[in-house]
Amino acid sequence: MGNVLVLAEHRQGALRDVSFEMLAVAPGVAEGMGGEVVVLLLGSSLDDMAKKMTEYGHKVMVLDDPAFENFNGEKYQMALSAIIDDLKPAVLMTGHTAQGVDFMPALAVEKKLPLVSDVVELNYEGDVLKATRQLYSGKVNAVVAFKPADTYLVTFREGAVEAPEASAAGEVEKMDSPLKEDVPYRKFVEYIEAEVGDVDITQSEILVAIGRGLKEDKNLPEIEALAETIKADLAGSRAATDAGWIPHDRQVGTSGKAVKPKLYIALGISGAFQHLAGMKGAKTIVAVNKDPEAPIFTVADYAIVDDMFKVLPKLTEKLKELK
């Protein structure tokens, strides 16, 4: 049996994109291994989500237990440890997300199984499972081959592939919860919703976004001058919020906001995939960066390879003139 078990991820009652995206990759691997794709859902009140996950032609196993109402890495580890013993999947795939990274490494150590994380491509070739992942901000790719093991563990990057179209209906199978007692060590307390600031950048028409290339906050006025000239709102990358240059609610990317302005001007942003995921929906993207290899250029419409501070004053001046 070479089944590929895909853990569908959800939060606050909604399935996350990566749950569907993994279904673009899992069937090819399962076919190579002579098995099937099986989707696993852990949680509470799962009927709607289970139905949605069956639309891709795979069996959906549902573990409905109030203990899983909110994500808890410790409980997930215990449940998946028991499920691996029970179902003996050839592969267990989860998202490389705040959930997946919180328990898969511990599960790998506990079960003495191999894990490859943040995978963007997964293939089964000549009896070997091979994962492709990125290093050095996406400037280098690595191909990692699994040595033979009972179960291969994979965390798959969100947004690495497109989700497949819904196809045939699959069946739902309920399973018993392996959790027999409460787990005392980690307790979920509450969610804190994202901060709301003075400007909602998800609604902005034009965004001027800054990154690490700003260097220091005394350079901010130059950026503000440009933004003011073209009536843009300021946003930024994780590096810019970490440095305190812009408030948290203006962070663009996986851990911040997904934006879709008609114009996005990225200044000194290298474009880590987490950032690209949050802004590639912009209609027109302009990128200014010193590094010709910066991944931001892969999504840009107009690109300038140069020091932003040599370009900015003239750009602002010229745009003022043209108004």
């Binding site: 994500f71 890495g73 410790e74 490389h96 997300t97 705040a98 990274v101 919180d102 328990f103 898969m104 490494p105 790998a108 150590v109 506990e110 191999p114 490859v116 994380s117 943040d118 091979k130 992942r133 990125q134 290093l135 050095y136 901000s137 400037k139 280098v140 790719n141 690595a142 191909v143 990692v144 081959a145 699994f146 040595k147 093991a149 060590y185 307390v189 969610y191 804190i192 994202a194 901060e195 994780r238 970490d242 948290h248 609610d249 996986t254 851990s255 911040g256 290298s270 027109t284 302009v286 990128a287 590094d291 991944p295 250029f297 892969t298 107009y302 040599k310 370009v311 003239k314 010229k318």
Partner: protein, 262 residues
Amino acid sequence: MKTFVCIKYVPDTSEAEVKLNPDGLTVDDSRFSFDINDADNYAVEESVLIKEAQGGEVTVLSIGPKKSEVMIRMAMAKGCDKATRIEDDRMADYDPLMVAKVLAGGIKGQEFDLVLTGCMANDDWHMTTGVALAEELGVKHASMVNKVELLDGKVKVHRELEGGLLEVVEVELPAVLTIQTGINEPRYAPIRGIRQAQKKELNVVSLDDIGVDPASVNADASQVVLEKLYIPEMESTAEFIEGEPEEKAEKLAAILHKGGLV
């Protein structure tokens, strides 16, 4: 409060072209400047903040070459008390599960309440080592932490999820926390601290010294094989605007204006 903070010496490749060594398995890092990994820098600051608030001791733990001692001394200049540097070329450092085993060896047998690590390394992006380390040590953990509040016998943390959403959880001590960037404002090392750091204890150890069997963490022990590295082709459909900086600026302004974008 006894805290270990695990830090990594990483190359800065953010503005540089990356080339591979002829072996096809390693990156030529001879031209890069190295420094403490971003998230680890925040972990160091958090460990010092905890010590300042609660008292106790912070031990730096790092796997790396002799030259990384500059980084280790800097962490001690900021307030960490002592350090262990593990250097041994027998470990399979491309597999974070092996790295976690080695770090566990550097901690086991000593008392601790907290182990802090960065949640991700800038070079290999695994986000695996800290959580694996917790399991190796047989303690609890929380990952991607951006707020730490110590309670009696446990710690209350904020975990950073998606889209600005936070998850508040309580974890029993001892525990491993993987620290997210932005959790605090890392300090600059004071001059006095830099002087004091030179006198602080820095032990250099091998796998044998910390009781880790090399055969349990080498390439044979790892269940994965690093088959190859390659430089992906950058696919860009962007129009690259050429010229002197000011010309580029003028051309871009004209494009934005003509296209009705501004």
